[in-house]
Symmetry: D2
Subunit: 378 residues, 4 copies
């Protein structure tokens, strides 16, 4: 069975979102990055595409060139799905063009800059029937998926309270300076739409609130904070949300929660119990009940749902971050092979392996001799 042919728009150079999508695409051996336009500067794009090992003729000048060339290829060579990783205001035109030309789409959030545009995409997709994903990344965590399943199965009963927080502090460092705040694209409605804080992170909280409960929110009442008269974009806000008269909630988002990083926390309570999850420690799902000890669920255990287990790659107790740990070691080795300067300890050398074997033998030796001291290095 062949891999899915994936195109990428944007995400070149050091783009973090680019790395994230490429690693994700490689993770389960389902995708092959086949082509793309990675940068508005065509030269840079070409260099980047080469670094990824792409054929020269699948590295495109822009989306138009890509669509034209790919559409002329036979169906079994053609890019099937395209990841849109460009600046926010380009999401809409690009996604639209891709849909209209028969591609599946993976689009970074926010989907568009206005609700109006979003509805247009929806209408087109209804005709084309394409796959169209918006990468609200957090819903992919194994314990978030487990939480969704437990709620669906009635583990916490009928929900009456939802509390979601997404606190960051990064904008504090520039909001208090008039010069700085007038020069930040995030605070410029032309580039970022009508909202900064709600648009960037409040929307994650909202998506989670509907994803987990499987229920639509009915109405909202918001109090936002702009902090300065001359600042046109919210940087903090509390939103009262109502699913129904008896199921209420609150979404809290901030970019001036100074010192917070990505403190995204979810708490949902029903008449049989509660569930809590925190993005910064994503491997723990807390299940509260009235009469039993607090239970902490972790990924990979048989007690989890298939939906959760499908997303766990390693046995219990390895934080998913171990991929990165191994990735860093491969990076160290690559630097060594390429004769780059390397950090001492960038990867464990043969010498460490030899000492490891010595340790094992000497340790067993100490025990067998009656728990006595044994020298290493003999």
């Amino acid at each position: 069975m062949s891999k899915i042919r994936l195109g990428i728009l944007g995400g070149g150079a050091d783009s973090l979102i680019g790395i994230l999508h490429r690693v994700a695409a490689n993770m389960f051996d389902h995708y092959e990055i086949t082509g793309g336009a990675f940068d508005i500067d065509f030269e840079k794009s070409k260099n980047f595409g080469e670094k990824l090992g792409l054929d020269q003729d699948r590295i495109y000048k822009d989306i138009d060139a890509m669509i034209e060339a790919e559409s002329n290829l036979p169906k079994d060579k053609r890019i099937q799905v395209v990841s849109v990783l460009t600046p926010n205001f380009l999401h809409f035109p690009m996604a639209k063009q891709l849909l209209e030309n028969g591609f599946h789409v993976i689009c970074e959030k926010p989907l568009t800059t206005t609700y109006e545009e979003a509805k247009i995409l929806k209408a087109i997709r209804e005709k084309t029937g394409s796959i169209f994903a918006v990468t609200y990344t957090y819903t992919g965590y194994p314990m978030v998926r487990q939480m969704k399943k437990m709620i669906a199965e009635g583990v916490i009963g009928k929900i009456h309270k939802v509390d979601i927080q997404y606190y960051q502090g990064w904008i504090n460092s520039l909001i208090h300076d008039k010069e700085k705040r007038s020069n930040t694209w995030r605070l410029d409605p032309e580039k970022s739409g009508i909202s900064c804080c709600i648009g960037d992170i409040g929307t994650h909280a909202f998506n989670m609130a509907e994803f987990l409960t499987g229920t639509r929110i009915d109405k909202v009442l918001a109090d936002l904070n702009y902090l300065y008269e001359d600042n046109p974009m919210d940087i903090d806000g509390t939103v009262l949300v109502r699913y129904s008269d008896n199921a209420k909630g609150v979404i809290r988002a901030s970019q001036i929660a100074t010192g917070e990083e990505n403190n995204f926390c979810v708490k949902i309570y029903g008449d049989k119990g509660g569930l809590k999850w925190e993005q910064e420690n994503p491997n723990y799902l807390y299940h509260l009940t009235e009469d039993k000890p607090l239970q902490t669920l972790k990924p990979g255990h048989a007690y989890n749902s298939d939906f959760s287990l499908e997303g766990t790659k390693l046995p219990p107790g390895h934080p998913e971050g171990i991929f990165d740990s191994m990735g860093n070691i491969y990076l160290g080795i690559a630097n060594a092979i390429k004769n780059h300067t390397k950090f001492e300890g960038a990867y464990p050398d043969l010498e460490e392996g030899v000492r490891g074997m010595m340790f094992i033998e000497k340790t067993v030796d100490s025990h067998k001799k009656g728990n006595v001291w044994v020298n290493l290095n003999d």
Copy 2:
């Protein structure tokens, strides 16, 4: 600059270690998996190689075939480095053969089954000068690297106490049953060498004890536990270690710490402070001093060393596991594209993106109208 050509021995089918190495190799766009022998069953190996998108003629029957064919290729096509992911007892012969034929080697731990074999590899490598890495994976974590640097810079002063623990509980489920314990390959010295617990996880603790301090351990005194007379392999042990008369330590390892997963903890104390790190929550490094509040360091911040920052791919506050979260979403999309059955919520659909845009606009609307309720779905 072209990618490094990587070969793989073993790691086929559902091998977890295989996934881990492939994801790691892809992470920084430095490697291209070029060939390999993934399974002793050649048919299975071929299917697997195809799934990875390899050329048919770079999928080999065995290591001999691979070495012969690759050696005949021009230097700029030839596999440069090989990852050895086979069962432990094959590490030695394969690594030896690879070294002797001019390949760089990445070898899973334990390096060999005896100290003697390890010393042979060391002697060969001294002649060839190849890159040879042993994947003690944990040394790749950003906060472990930061810990090493802080110790090297004297942040905790002269070290006088090292305490390392690696507790698992998995063998408890089979050790108490005579039948089961006699049929486990881990407890068979023929297949696993002379030690189970120390050989598998104690060796990680030992490696960490030397990696972090930059100092060699002088001697050991061990008390191991075999629990049953008929069990030839240790499954638990405490090892007193001595760097010098005034710098002492203890390594504790267990596979009968029932209920533990991979509870690998490191504590190092010197005359100016202490440092602590836990593998199951790898993004936190604790720095203790006598007269200041406890400090908790996290990856990606400017206060970290270059060595640590080089291994961080995302801004602070995203657990490295977010790669997996995104990976799971790409998997969901792949299943949709391939028309496989999918879990509801396996990826966020366009519909979620549309609602997100609605939420943002309605929220700002509520605020601007004076903090009043606004209906969604209009």
Copy 3:
């Protein structure tokens, strides 16, 4: 210097609030419980007073009897301050009567059942100038005091965001049953005033919001939840609060956060940093900044303010709960002395002390002999 003579109204039998106030009064050797009326049943009150070791003639039938008798005593014998621990609706008349008769007052919260009554007490106190404390207990924690001081000293700069949560789940077990909810005094406006959740715990959050910031809240916007039409009292609510246009906050309180105990959390952010504290782990104060590692302050350290240190009785690292641990041991001993049935292990017997001395000597012996096994029990 003699102790302060303390009278107590209510708090008899197994009253938890009674135990709490008595232990607190004894803690620093400043008070002597001199008299009181502990129960509406005079017999029970007399027995209880005797148990406390009070003189018979200082155990009173009711507040009237107490005030009359005490007022006739010479000033240096007379009760100086009275703790009002009776049901909520009695707080107002009792506090009023005490103030009017020249006593200092310590009153449990809520102060009264209406704002009107509260203002009356305020007016009287302005004339008498008495000491009048309302026991918002949480402000007495050392780390809460440290937080107040740090904010006052500008450590987190100008405050722009306050987020306080008090979540409990206890009312979930009775709110869903029509019978039960109509028979709960907490849900009866006659007995509990106009509010259940806000009145009982929201008020703690509000007090903390003003205590810590040293600033008054200007206005509120609330969304409460009653869950059932026939329930007249709020059991959950979110309150938007505003200090000023640029300093906003949110108070969240719930009694249907199923499974929560007393999850009272405080987060305050300013332009220089943030501070966080959680009541269920009260010895940790988290200080966040933009460019330094997270700092965790603990009680008793010299880096704390005098205000905080004054309230710490033990060296760092002993949770304040160690008083209770020792208290439990004294209880075990009391039961033994009084020949009550006792739990095995209720207190450490001499035998344990003997073994402790043996352990010390044998351990040193093992070391001195060169790290060898030494038998105990010789």
Copy 4:
């Protein structure tokens, strides 16, 4: 039923251990402090006794005077039990004298300075049959008691691994200076017996190891650290302990674990599960099993044993430290009554109570008017 008459030797002035014992004695209303000798300076002792509210003639010059006078009192007036809170080397002679004169004894640890002395006390007690408690305080924590019960009931099955740590860092600040270390009484064998670290805290770990398992340790193998040649006392050590050939353990104690406060942790594993507890967060008991989520038990819940519940004074979710919080507030009030200078916020004044009532009413008002802003201060 009258209170138990308690005498106290030592513990005067600012003695922390004195405060701890007095608060504990008062906690359940079982004891009345009746007399004592609090200081070797009789004047100071008298002042201190007066502060405690004792009769002048029950404040004694020394233990001899106390024993003589009390022995002459009728049995129902006489001190029944005496707490020995004097320096370590006085424990033995005082406890001996008290036993020989018919008193019950509560003795601080370590019981004596030698194992020999301890055995003498044991022999005397066997004749007198007195109550004799040694205050290994930690065994009084509710969750430690719960742990003991669960082990006794077989919840974690047959124990095969015990791991106990008591790490402090305080001696680091003086051990590295030759002058300082030679002038510390803790490091002087004349005053402190043969061991510093093992004698002071290792003994707590040992006691816990036997208390929790209900099983005696058979033998030990120790490696201690003295750090400097001229230091005669251990300040760090690891002790291998053996209950039997298949139940092994390790006790780790240190006073040079720089930056640690009272990091006393207990881990016990059996063939059905594991239990973990940490002294610095004493309200959490962790129960690990192989196939279920981690369970966290907390005090006061019905799922706990009677033995544990007997030692819990408050409903779940109030850390036991809340006694101290209330104690601090009573202290603030005392200072106000006595006209001492006071810290702002030292206790919540009537004003705070008034605002609390206003908050409740205005909040309900906002909700009832349809979630609108309502000003406070009207």
